[in-house]
Symmetry: C2
Subunit: 236 residues, 2 copies
């Protein structure tokens, strides 16, 4: 048989899931937006069945909220909610670097250095989009180095709610210098296989993220309040 058909067949539900997820994360569907099955199916050119299954998955990830007999809506991002996620992520990020210290291979280490350098080059360009991407990749290298599949998928899940704030938090970090320094410190700690140092650096790293995300949320909420006062329609 010819080796053709390299691409696996992807069920529509997964395709829909990816599309919806993307749309939610980029803000195309803002928090509070109702997700109506017929409408979505119409838009994506599929029937309700795959839509429903995709929504079930998004629901378990926390990205959408179901109200029985009422339907699905994009989950609200509350300060409490985000704070809860960050609290868990802090513990897991620390676990990640600790495990990476124990388990990273020389290949992984080389990859990590490349990711660090790539991040620094991205910072030099001052292109937020590129910086954000390099940042994510840097963290992914560490996460993968743990070799813990459950941890990998959890980190993925927990990074979703923060996705919308990445640009802000990158802009926020006083000229990116902090980010570069923090990344370097983390790499050094892992290189020396020093879990304590790595944990402490990773903790600081996410604490900084936390500060800037929380500030951002408060700003948004303030804006909303002002808009409400001026009678502008707000997202419910």
């Amino acid at each position: 048989m010819p080796k053709a058909k390299e691409e696996d067949f992807l069920p529509l539900r997964d395709s829909v899931y990816n599309k919806l997820r993307q749309a939610i994360l980029t803000g195309e569907y803002p928090p509070g937006e109702r997700l109506m099955e017929v409408h979505l199916g119409d838009k994506l050119g599929v029937s309700r069945t795959p839509i429903r299954e995709a929504i079930r998955m998004l629901e378990l990830e926390g990205l959408v909220t179901m109200i029985p007999r009422k339907g699905a809506m994009v989950s609200q991002i509350t300060e409490k909610n985000m704070s809860d996620v960050l609290e868990v992520r802090r513990a897991l990020d620390i676990l990640c670097v600790q495990l990476a210290c124990e388990r990273i291979t020389s290949d992984g280490m080389a990859e990590l250095r490349r990711a660090r350098d790539n991040f620094e080059r991205a910072v030099a360009t001052n292109d937020s989009r590129r910086i954000a991407q390099a940042d994510v990749e840097f963290h992914n290298v560490i996460i993968r180095a743990t070799g813990n599949d459950r941890l990998i998928s959890l980190e993925d899940s927990l990074s979703l709610p923060m996705y919308r704030y990445r640009y802000e938090y990158i802009k926020d970090s006083s000229g990116h210098d902090n980010l570069v320094k923090e990344h370097r410190k983390i790499v050094n700690a892992i290189e020396k296989r020093n879990p304590e140092a790595a944990a402490s650096e990773a903790g600081e790293h996410i604490d900084n993220q936390r500060r800037s995300i929380m500030r951002q949320i408060r700003l948004e909420r303030e804006e909303e309040t002002i808009n409400a006062l001026y009678g502008k329609r707000t997202i419910r």
Copy 2:
């Protein structure tokens, strides 16, 4: 209006989800068992639609594994798999007690003491089932005391794969004395709001669990191998 209709309407998918989950956790559907939609629908008296949605949920929780165009099966419990889960749980359990130290209310503290005492009474009866239940409740009190909803639901998810081994690990703990002591130490640490001590005790607590679960898995695998040698049919 009369206060009637206290019970909320529960969609079939959730009902199915609960039933399947229970069946998997109790071992009625052992790892490797295929979950066929028509068959399940027939058995539970519902159509395929709610079954499929329930399976999607179980899939994201990791309890079932999907093979495209082939169907769903109860996830295999591998040593690696369980080890990954325990590694994450260790970090989160520690986070739980640390947060509990900061945030537990006096009501919560009272509840925790009750749970501890109830556990000790259960141990006195030597009834594994009751001990397991009291143990779960004890941990739940701590988890709820964190006030972190995301953490609560994650702990729930991560405790599922271990569910089948609870009895073993309880029997294992050299006459339950260790468990009682460990619980006491954790309560004391939280009472004194000493996060370091609490973390260290919680770490030790789950390390013990890990040892006994891992031993149990190895035993099972050994048994399987022997059965295979004797030609007995094994679960695939």
